[in-house]
Amino acid sequence: MFWRRRSPDDFAEEIRSHLELEADELQREGVSEREAHWKAMREFGNVRAAQERFYMKGRWIWLDKVMRDVRFGMRSLWKTPGFTVTAVLTLALGVGANTAVFSVMNAVLLKSLPVEDPQSVVYVKTSGAPRRANNTGDWQTSLSYPVYDALRREKKVLSDVMAYVPLANDKIGVRIGAQPEEAEADMVSGNFFSGLGVKMARGRGFIPSDETDHSPIAVLSAKYWTARFASDPEVVGKTIYVKGVPLTIAGVAAAGFEGVEPGHSTDLWIPLQNSEALNAWGAPFRKGKSYAEVPNWWCLRMVARLAPGVSRAQAAERLQGVFKAAAYISLGAPLAGEKPPVLSFDEAKNFPGYEEEWGKPLRMLMAMVGLVLLIAMTNIVMLLMARNATRQKEFSLRLALGAQRGELLRQLLVESLLLVTLGGALAWAFALGATRMLGIWAHIDSSLSPDRIVLLATLVVLLLSAVLFGLAPFRTAVAGGAELALKTSAATSGTDAGKTRTGKIVVALQMALCVVLLVGGGLLVRTLQNLQNIPLGIRTEGLLVFGVSQPNATTGTQSVQFYEELMRRLRALPGVEAVTVMGNRVGSGWSNNNNAMVDGKEPQVAGGGSTMQRNNYVGADFFHTLGIPIVMGREFTEVDTPTSQQVAVVSELFAQRFLPNVNPLGHHINGNSKKDDVVIVGVAKNNKYTSMNEEPIPMIWYHYAQAGEPMAMHVEMHVNGDPMSMLPSARKVVASMDPNIPLVLPMTQRAQFEQSISQQLMFARLAEFFGVLAVVLVATGLYGTLAYRVNMRTAEIGVRMAVGARRGQVVWMILRDSLILTGVGVLVGVPLAMLVARALSTSLYGVKAMDAMSYIVAVFGVAMVALAASAVPAGRAASVDPLIALRAE
């Protein structure tokens, strides 16, 4: 409304004037002054009613009343800060945990890639590579260049095929200013952005000629642009050095697109290249040939867009022939008994393949936080019921004064809405922080933050709780009816048998849930301890590891010279005990697997076991540096050179499996030709290679200098004191050799191994957290309920004590109550926990699902919580002064 609303005062003024005018007129008609005044009033009727009608006219009365309820609700919440804080925090934790976990689940398992029409975008998958091909990257997503070339011609089935491949196993060296840094970079086909339908925020994307011309340009992700260039609008045209190669920044991809690497956030993309520095996976050229010219190297990843009207299954079926033909280019026909690889297409989820690894733990976690929410909600309901039962007098009085039941209900709803709004806002803030933490713990650098779907789900939960919290206490609140206002006895209020029974059931249920969470949490914590205490066979104390890839080595000799010099300089640093290099960083999950021959023959394993072996290329002093004991022979030393006899160290398991009952020293690996012949010179104790919880596999260590190819190596340093404090000196040494080389993922060796079990670690820590949270919630709920019930029985206790009950008897009366509840809760909870533990069993390590200790601890824990929560109210009950209690009647 634009005009100023007429004030009720003005209206009242008009009525006053009416009465005066009327009285005047009546006097003129001959009525006495006194009489005229009264008559005018009588004629007018109910002045108040008229004013009230004026006030209500055109006003949104309902809103007006709600505003009044809001003010009243805020006052009453303010008056009971203990209750308000408890309820709001409980709600915030319960809802926040759910929002956080659901947000992660949504991002990891449900969300599609942020591309145009994601339904028609698919990941290209294979059942594997042909037998004689070799593979880098994940077995199921790595494909060869001929396959890419064949598939992209099938326009009728796949309207676009986009190839991409990382420029390194992890991060690559990038230089923008003076300092070298790390970035995550992919080399992609020319149609990468156009095919996916990813728009550019700045500049241009790639075009097909960029792929054929190997244009020296780069496109940045919006995230990297923001983080590294402070969203500089003039970034296009600037130069960035990737592994020392100058590239011009051509564009910035639209915000939200972080590439197609699962769980990784790609910083920059460059067109497919044809140079040794920028080869697939950072590998050197093989016999002078790039990845595209080695047809049996399965190293490319692919994502494709289905042609309109073609389903994933149809596409796979129609392309299998083309795929198989391309797969065997240069390999000849499949070997006898070899199963050719099978093509398939996978949905373009944001995190392809994460379903397998994370699906189960995430769903378990979701169930856990669901339980926590359930406990939290019942807690709040009980708190509200208790609170509103003590307000029965207030409500009765209002009913007696003429308030409608509807009005009371509205007020309760408004109060619960206030609570839920506060709790919800806090929950959202909590979830934002928690998702960031979860991302860090899980080593997922793509965003897991809640999006609109998560927001919607959270709002629905909050709305439901608001209604629940409003309705649940309503019955208790108005149960007294208007008559209660006239009564004063505490005994009449709140001891109705039905109501206390509901309360008891709820408490017992909470205890049962608590047992379940404690057992689950306990099992996972034991798992965590077991995992952390796995013997690695490596002394990780004082070990610092970082990657160094030499950008411009084209021959093995150059590479060896570089690393030998680097090791020499690092050994010279004060505080350094030992230094070595290795091709695959131990604990990182990377390994070379093959089936090498022993003494010129396919190794025969008793009982037909696997002949697979793992190997690694390492430098001199490797075993000494990592503290791996040599049980026979010797380790690599200075006497081993590129030109001396090729030597290897094998693990005990290798010796047991492939050379049983003989002295393995002096036996040969390969051994068909002089060129590949390697002599075993030592046997080392078994130790962990790829991860902390791997099963041991026979292991061969080769000397890296005898490989004859340039390699990217990781440096391992054994130092005195904190390994990380050596990092700056190491950085200086590396920079003194080449300023373009960054240290890749420097960390302690211990941290590297812990990363290999990060999923279990995170899961166990979260379970621990939610277990503790549940216990705290149950304890507060229990305390609140018991305290409330004791409060209600004050009069009864007073009477009992007045007629001679002793303190101990009263305490026991209260304790017995909660012990019975605990007993019921445990009886229900233990079988439930067994079911849950069975479902968890695949996530456990070194502990059984029926681990008695975990159950005992859980039951004991619940009992302790119950006792502690009852002790205070019981003590209070016993110290009730009978006189005061009776006077309260």
């Binding site: 008009e14 004037s17 009416h18 005066e20 005018l21 005047d24 007018f44 002045v47 008229a50 009608r53």
Partner: protein, 118 residues
Amino acid sequence: MPTQDRSDDRIALLQGTLDLLILKTLLPGPVHGQGVARRIQRQSEEVFFVDHGSLYLALQRLEDKKWISAKWGLSENNRKARFYSLTAKGREQLVEKISEWRRLARAMAMVLDAPLED
């Protein structure tokens, strides 16, 4: 509720007729609320009984619709009073309402006066 005694021949106003009566009363010139009440009673020869509370709310309603406008002023005996006058829009409405009412009344009369048919 008004509590004064009702004389038998007074009848309550039909729904919606009060607006028309107010507009008609204001036709000659500005009048305050009490004056409107008196005039309606007088001109209907005391048949209509006007509930004063309703009258003032009706005045307010008409003012909100901008059919009438109001202004505080002084009465002939120097009392402060709120004077209402017709707006152009109100005048139009009055003409329309009068003809509407006449048609209604005529139709009512025709039906009521019609000879009984069987």
